[in-house]
């Protein structure tokens, strides 16, 4: 399975949740497969999906899922200790780990070589870290939502991309409709 197949699999689960989606192809794929107002699409700023998601989770009560990639987590490695030390039980970090920088042409990441993001997350102090195979992602994600415990999921998959259109929505529109959903879900 490749990342877009995982996103297609879990889209029905994401639909009812607040989602922060990583820059580039992950956002474009989710936008094409099942665009929801409750998804914040990152149009820039590589690496900050987990930080933005944690900020949303700490500021309100509803579950927030940050969809991240192995390359993006490597870009913002400092995020894992911050997550570990600021426990938000409504926060799930889903790292789709395909061992490559998909949006830039599938150059290999160190996570696809000797570095285990699962082990790093645990070493940083994250208490609920689950590594799974691509096919199990939906089951593991639903279990994490139901557990109401902050969870880091590392879903291992193959590298590879599908053709997707870029997102042309205005960033302020994306932000505004996401904030409207935050208010609606917390009402």
């Amino acid at each position: 399975m490749i990342r877009s197949e995982i996103i297609r699999d879990i889209a029905p689960i994401l639909r009812d949740q607040l989602v922060v989606c990583n820059i580039g192809l992950p956002s474009q794929e989710l936008h094409m497969i099942d665009d929801q107002a409750s998804t914040f699409y990152m149009l820039g700023t590589m690496g900050l999906s987990s930080s933005i998601g944690l900020g949303v989770a700490l500021a309100q009560d509803k579950t927030v899922i940050s969809i991240d990639g192995d390359g993006s987590v490597l870009t913002n490695f400092g995020t894992l200790p911050t997550i570990a030390n600021n426990v938000a039980d409504n926060f799930i970090l889903l790292i789709i780990d395909n061992g490559s920088y998909g949006s830039t042409g599938d150059q290999p990441t160190y996570a696809g070589k000797k570095t285990s993001l699962t082990a790093v997350a645990r070493a940083c102090g994250c208490e609920n870290v689950v590594e799974c195979q691509a096919e199990e992602t939906g089951v593991v994600l639903q279990a994490a939502i139901d557990s109401k415990k902050m969870t880091v999921i590392v879903a291992k998959c193959e590298s590879g991309n599908i053709k997707v259109p870029v997102i042309t929505k205005d960033p302020v529109v994306i932000r505004d409709r996401f904030m409207t959903e935050v208010v609606r879900l917390n009402a």
């Binding site: 922060v20 914040f40 990152m42 149009l43 820039g44 700023t45 690496g47 900050l48 987990s50 930080s51 933005i52 998601g53 944690l54 900020g55 949303v56 989770a57 700490l58 500021a59 309100q60 927030v64 913002n76 400092g78 995020t79 200790p81 911050t82 600021n86 960033p171 302020v172 994306i174 932000r175 996401f178 904030m179 935050v182 208010v183 917390n186």
Partner: protein, 165 residues
Amino acid sequence: MSVSEKIVADFVANGIEFVTTVPCKQLGGVIDAVEKEPSIYHIPSNKEDEGMGLCAGAFMGGKRPAIIMQNTAIGVTVNTLVTLTQFYRMPLPMLISYRGELKEPVACQVEMAVHTKALLNQLNIPTYHFHKPGDEQELDAILKYTFMCNKPVAILTDATFWGGY
């Protein structure tokens, strides 16, 4: 009330409930006051761009944020300021220690100080400079301005303002 306590009191009066900090000797008193303030969630960051991501999330989650950092961080946050904070039109008060100004003992700090205002100017970030004791009187109006216009706004505080090192 100390200057640090006055600054945090202005944060509270303007509804700021989420503050991220990257350590700075000059702003140590403000960071301590933030930590002590029960109505503020204080979340230390490992790097300033990470902190700006946290602040963007907190804002969208319904809490007014602020970041406390050194001016050296302007160099590492340009992309985040432009593609996240400004592109999505989010407010962000940035309380910044202006290292490398008069009374600075460390030469290397000057190398970033000479670029600080030029970079902020290039990024069209409204910038205020607290240079003399009492300049903090303007903070309340600066915070109101920031949340009115939904922009990142810089407040540079130098060694003369803080009474030396």
